[in-house]
């Protein structure tokens, strides 16, 4: 939660604070709203609902995984209709804090994961998240770890192979 707290604390005092309807939601309501918002491409807006769900049931690994995924999505979310292309988040300082929070949530989710496949999902998500930031080696290692836990997950192996190919020949598939 530290990242979101830091993000909110960093907002100028002039920013209008929305009223907080979250406290009345149970976990399923919070999760449902979060997923609807996420499905609409509004990852940033979904974060309070995911956070509420995690707070209500802190031991559910998939809630932490989904919250982390939403944080990683929110980092790259653009403001839809402002006349200037702009991120939803204020600056890289907040985006960095959100990424660190996502990684912390994934660490917790990995510890809570009940099966190797669940663990593989979490590790793969971490790999994708940090590879997107440019930490290719970290991403590749995470894909490898996930692949060991879920040897039949072909899509995951494809991600790893693609990343390795780009690392070897970065220009090969350049835009």
């Amino acid at each position: 939660m530290a990242a979101t707290a830091a993000f909110l604390a960093s907002r100028p005092r002039h920013a209008v604070e929305p009223t907080d309807p979250l406290l009345s939601l149970d976990v399923e309501q919070a999760l449902s709203t979060a997923k609807v918002l996420g499905g609409q491409g509004r990852a940033c807006a979904s974060l309070p609902y995911f956070r509420r769900a995690v707070e209500l049931v802190p031991g559910r690994w998939e809630l932490r995984r989904d919250y982390a995924a939403a944080l990683l999505d929110a980092v790259s979310e653009a403001r839809p209709s402002l006349r200037v292309a702009q991120s939803v988040t204020r600056s890289s300082w907040e985006r960095g804090a959100m990424t660190r929070e996502a990684l912390a949530q994934l660490d917790l989710a990995e510890r809570l994961a009940p099966t190797p496949t669940a663990g593989a999902q979490v590790i793969a998500l971490r790999g994708m998240g940090i590879a997107n930031w440019g930490l290719s080696w970290n991403g590749l290692v995470e894909y490898g770890r996930a692949g060991e836990l879920a040897p039949g997950w072909t899509e995951l192996h494809g991600h790893g192979a693609d990343l390795a190919r780009i690392m070897r020949e970065p220009q090969s598939a350049a835009r």
Binding site: W93, W133, G134
Partner: protein, 702 residues
């Protein structure tokens, strides 16, 4: 003063009944001719750009106002349209929008038309609350009848939605814009501005019939955020002249905390002050921390690559506390893996953050923050080494170098970028120094050994890549960017290395000589991209080329002394890439400071690029170096050069004035360095005097 409350006025109203009503009401202060305090004439300040503009900003504020080429103000969320009119015609647009002495942010511009001269003066102030993120602008508009007959004049000031073509918007701006914009007046509890002319809704109108020579003023307060009307009225009790005085005092005192440069060269001194104002202003708070932002408008974000430059510049111009606060903010950019990243795919951030920690924390002496920086830096170096180790096992062509980056900026390609490795090496060197300062010699030695291996790998990669000088990437793709920093500040190759010489020759040849370089296409001149080559030239003994780069940096400053990022060579148009840019300010400070005092190596180098004019007698006071605060004086008196400086525990290299060489061997303990233009002084020396002869060899700079 009599305020006039008028209905909303159309954008281009005719001089109809409303105007007549205003004339009848009078309104605003009547002043006698000639009572205006003597001040600078904005139209005498040079501005090389096609469109004049200025920034009204404040440290810690989260919004800024731009004075636009039309003479309006905009914060990106709304625009304050200013319509000065005499007769039926609106006054001409301003030709120059200038800061006092081309540095102090008291901004003036002038508009003329139909016998009325309109003079505008604006200063920014912090918002009303302590630690506020807001900003207020105090603006005075003064109309003067310069005609021989009476004239009708009026000033309409109106809040409007920003121009759709405006290139910036605050991150916290409402979309599509605030529903209401209004002046503080009867009934308004929240407002965006206050005027002596009063206001109704979004408009404020003042008008007068003016006798020849008569002057009238309107005073405005403009808030960057909606503000309590009562608060604005309260702030308005302090007159404009008081706010101007406060701004002058504030900036004079802030700059007095830093190094004092007395070079006998007012333009360079003003440029340094202007650059420092930009860097001090381009900061925001995040909770208890401070972060550097790229600029007050479209670059209101944090980039490690730009922030590191700002931290370095602030550190070397004596703003130690500010530089350290910003470096502290950088600690938040470290990922658990050890890397520092601010933007996706920009892997140069790790080396830049480490370099910034060193720059801020080791000058003029380490403080207790150094242990924290050393810890973070060591984790980052170990992350780099881990990758290099993995890569070395792959057999890939450049596996031992950092992996590919896709910065979506700068080099603008996906490749293993030369600059990422060069910056990593700068980070390694910084880490070693931080560890030594923290008393952790064993770990420092570990990093030193790693640096040696990495340098060797860097050199081998250069041999293997097949490029004649220094490519943007090991795959040879991309635009020149990080590779321009290989020699300085990264120190990945020695300045006189043939590849460094080749790079400068190639880049400058394409740009028409040493100066600004182009980015993307030849018509796009980039202000700071090639600035590192200026210091490279100093270190390579190519003083004339360094001077040429400095000339360009000085030339392409606007009338407030700031500079943008990119503009067109042909039309001098910066388009939507609005000045000032923090990195532009940083590189100017860096180059001037390096020309006077360079301390990045194991020797203190003085007057490396001091210009002939500076040799008339210059003095630097309280210059932070890696060996403490240094005062420096130097002068040339006909056939003699003299220096006096605070002694340091390392050798000092003294470069002779341009166009001179040693007339004879200097008296011990001084010694002539090879080449005849540098004198070496042993540790502890505090003064030197040498005889000069004319250097008939001239500049030997191919």
């Amino acid at each position: 003063m009599t305020g006039s409350v008028l209905p909303r006025v159309p954008a281009h109203p005719s001089l109809a009944l409303a105007f007549a009503a205003v004339l009848a009401l009078g309104g605003c202060s009547r002043t006698l001719p000639g009572d205006r305090a003597a001040g600078f004439d904005p139209d005498t300040i040079p501005d090389p750009y096609r469109s004049p503009s200025a920034a009204l900003m404040w440290p810690g504020a989260t919004r800024a106002f731009q004075v636009t080429p039309r003479g309006d103000l905009t914060n990106g969320a709304w625009t304050v349209r200013i319509h000065p009119r005499a007769g039926v015609r609106e006054a001409d647009l301003p030709s120059v929008i200038a800061c006092e002495d081309r540095w102090l942010p008291v901004v003036r511009w002038r508009r003329r038309g139909e016998g009325i001269t309109w003079e505008f003066e604006a200063v920014s102030c912090p918002g009303p609350a302590p630690r506020d993120s807001g900003l207020l602008v105090s603006l005075e508009a003064r109309a003067r009848n310069t005609a021989a007959v009476p004239r009708d004049a009026r000033l309409l000031v109106r809040f409007e939605a920003p121009d759709p073509a405006l290139s910036f918007a605050p991150f916290d701006a409402a979309d599509p814009g605030p529903a209401t914009l209004r002046w503080a007046g009867a009934g308004a509890d929240t407002a965006e501005g206050w005027s002596t002319a009063g206001g109704s809704g979004d408009s404020s109108l003042a008008g007068w019939r003016m006798a020849p020579g008569e002057t009238r003023t309107v005073r405005l307060l403009l808030s960057a955020y909606p503000e309590a009307a009562a608060s604005l009225r309260s702030w308005a009790r302090a007159p404009h002249v008081q706010r101007v005085g406060e701004a002058r005092r504030y900036w004079t005192e802030e700059l007095a905390r830093g190094t004092r440069f007395d070079l006998g060269d007012p333009e360079v001194e003003r440029a340094l002050r202007a650059a420092t104002v930009v860097l001090l202003s381009c900061r925001e708070r995040r909770g208890p921390r401070w972060v550097p932002i790229g600029g007050p408008f479209q670059y209101r974000d944090v980039w490690l690559r730009d922030g590191a430059r700002a931290i370095r510049a602030l550190a070397v111009c004596g703003q130690t506390r500010v530089a350290r606060d910003l470096a502290d903010g950088f600690l938040e950019f470290q990922l658990p893996q050890g890397a520092f990243v601010s933007q996706r795919g920009q892997l140069d951030g790790t080396g830049q953050a480490l370099w910034a920690f060193e720059q801020a924390s080791l000058r003029p002496a380490p403080d207790d923050s150094v242990a924290r920086y050393a810890d973070a830096a060591l984790r980052a170096v170990r992350w780099c080494e881990w990758q290099r180790d993995l890569g070395s096992r792959t057999g890939w062509p450049f596996g031992v170098m950092l992996p590919f980056g896709d910065p979506r900026d700068a080099e603008l390609t996906r490749a293993q970028l030369t600059g990422n490795d060069a910056w990593a090496l700068a980070g390694y060197r910084a880490t070693e120094r931080l560890l030594r300062a923290a008393g952790r010699d064993t770990e420092a030695a570990e990093v030193s050994a790693a640096t040696g291996r990495y340098r060797a790998d860097f050199a081998r990669a250069l041999e293997r890549c097949g490029h004649p000088d220094l490519p943007p990437s090991w795959q040879l793709a991309g635009r020149d960017w990080g590779n321009l920093s290989v020699a300085y500040p990264c120190g990945a190759l020695p300045p006189r290395h043939p590849r460094c010489v080749g790079l400068a020759r190639r880049v400058w040849a394409a740009s028409g000589g040493a100066g600004l370089t182009w980015y993307g296409d030849r018509d796009s001149l980039h202000y700071y991209l090639g600035a590192d080559l200026g210091t490279w030239a100093l270190l390579a003994g190519r003083r004339a080329q360094a001077d040429s780069v400095l000339d360009a940096l000085l030339l392409w400053r606007d009338a407030c002394g700031g500079a943008g990022e990119i503009f067109t060579r042909g039309t001098h148009d910066f388009g939507g890439n609005l000045p000032p840019h923090a990195t532009a300010a940083a590189v100017l400070i860096d180059l001037v400071r390096n020309a006077l005092l360079f301390d990045d190596g194991d020797t203190l180098q003085l007057t490396l690029g001091a210009r002939a004019r500076w040799w008339s007698g210059s003095r630097l006071s309280r210059a932070p170096t890696r060996w403490g605060l240094v005062d420096l004086e130097f002068a040339r008196n006909r056939d003699e050069a003299t220096w006096s400086w605070t002694p340091v525990p390392v050798w000092t290299a003294l470069t002779l004035p341009p166009g001179s060489r040693l007339a004879r061997d200097p008296a011990p303990p001084l010694a002539a360095a090879p080449g005849g233009v540098t004198v070496l002084a042993p540790p502890g020396t505090s003064s030197a005097r040498v005889g000069l002869a004319s250097d008939s060899r001239g500049a030997s700079e191919p």
